[in-house]
Symmetry: C2
Subunit: 303 residues, 2 copies
Amino acid sequence: MKLTALGTGGGVPSLYRGLPAFALERNGEVFLFDCGEGTQFRIMRSHIKPGRLEKIFISHFHGDHVLGLTGLLMTLSQFSREKPLELYAPPGMKEFMDNMKKHLNFRLDYELIIHEVTGGEIYKSKEYSIYAMPLSHIIFNLGYKIEEAERPGRFYPEKAIELGIKPGPLFKKLQDGHPVTLPNGNIVYPGQVMGPPRKGRKVVYATDTNPMSEMVDFAKEADLLMHDGMFSGDDDVMAIERGHSSVKDAARIAKEANVKKLLLIHISPRYSDGEMLLAKAKEIFPNTIIAKDYMTLEIPYED
Amino acid sequence: MKLTALGTGGGVPSLYRGLPAFALERNGEVFLFDCGEGTQFRIMRSHIKPGRLEKIFISHFHGDHVLGLTGLLMTLSQFSREKPLELYAPPGMKEFMDNMKKHLNFRLDYELIIHEVTGGEIYKSKEYSIYAMPLSHIIFNLGYKIEEAERPGRFYPEKAIELGIKPGPLFKKLQDGHPVTLPNGNIVYPGQVMGPPRKGRKVVYATDTNPMSEMVDFAKEADLLMHDGMFSGDDDVMAIERGHSSVKDAARIAKEANVKKLLLIHISPRYSDGEMLLAKAKEIFPNTIIAKDYMTLEIPYED
């Protein structure tokens, strides 16, 4: 998986930070988390292929997270998109889209499948599941998690050969989890030639939220936690009142959840010095990164 | 007056042309024509001071002309704007804004005065008037014109002195158009010491329109005509069907209206070669410019 930070600011844009939008590439598909004004331009300026967009996740109905959505959807239509696009958002998205279509006199030439979600498992395939969790903001707001299924363990061809299997279709049969019967009647089981199942990756997107104890569970051992870090932590009252977290809050959650990496996002335009914010977080959780527009992050498998 | 082209494309954005937005500065005030997605970023990157925004004019309800409006208005509020802002647009704007506020949970801390207009004189002060005219597009669409009032003629101090006026408050009285009675009983009239009234400037914004004979009158002798030049003129059917003009159409109108300068706008992303478009227009109307993002144009007085 590879994350591209398209907009790392929040509230109002600055010259240095665009409005929230994060693209996650996985296996040729692109997931987009939030879609602030200007996201379509930022996609154009990045390596992300808009045609690969598969799913869009909107956290909540504040302008800085939503105002790029309509333009992006319209442009995809103008670029002759045909395949359906899945849109996950809090309740209200269907009415919002209906109103935008009515006011702005457009239709989309592909199917936009809107899922109004409020939490829990919102998608499941063989390869991965997606979960949403209500956050603690001044309006209803969702965090999202993508969690890959376990992959089969590593295959050891030398062990298979030792047990009498010839390289070829039978290797594949074992890798797919099926036992193989040899001409002499012996049965070789996948477990004899493969290592234990390997963990999939887990990525969590949680912005515009007060620090929440529930996040520790939600983000448990995530490979990457993107977390609201709008304030420095020197004025906690302001962070709490506005439904945000400080970089210290984010670091504490990352530490408790034992994540591999913390990415601070939704950085307030009031901080020109990202290094100061980063230093505060690193005191608590060393493996912290502060997001910068157009930054990319590889999210490798553990093994 | 000074025009800044903030977004010179149309339909979909490209790497080279943003979506429609043109800022006109006059006497410390800024007028904005259309507000495509990203306009607030483009204002930030230009010399335009957002606090000076006085009036916004929206041509029509297509996304590429409107989708930056909500974000801009919200940001102005976050930047503590207090003075009212005037918004002129076709009918539907009040409902659109109400819906945006409802869906996106915001309010503005300044007064937004929405004028839903359909044509005619839409504003008049001592200094200038503003007119709207319905254009010929696939939905209801307005062109706008700002027309300055005549200014008093040039004042000739040497003539006043010759007639016995002493430099000082009486100069001002004459300049303001009042006669002055001298100690000897002679009366000096303004016309004796001033030239004829001088023409104000006229700027017309007309985009997303088929070529219209009415435009010749509307733009008559304008100092600057910004006109839809979305197509090259090699495929007139497409331009007509989509409610647009070719650069040749724009040039013909500029010529017939005897404007001083034509600025081609709403350039389609299909043309990477602006010079080719410009050459076609210049064959018909030599004083043509093709708009480029962030370009500025001074609009001087005739004299």
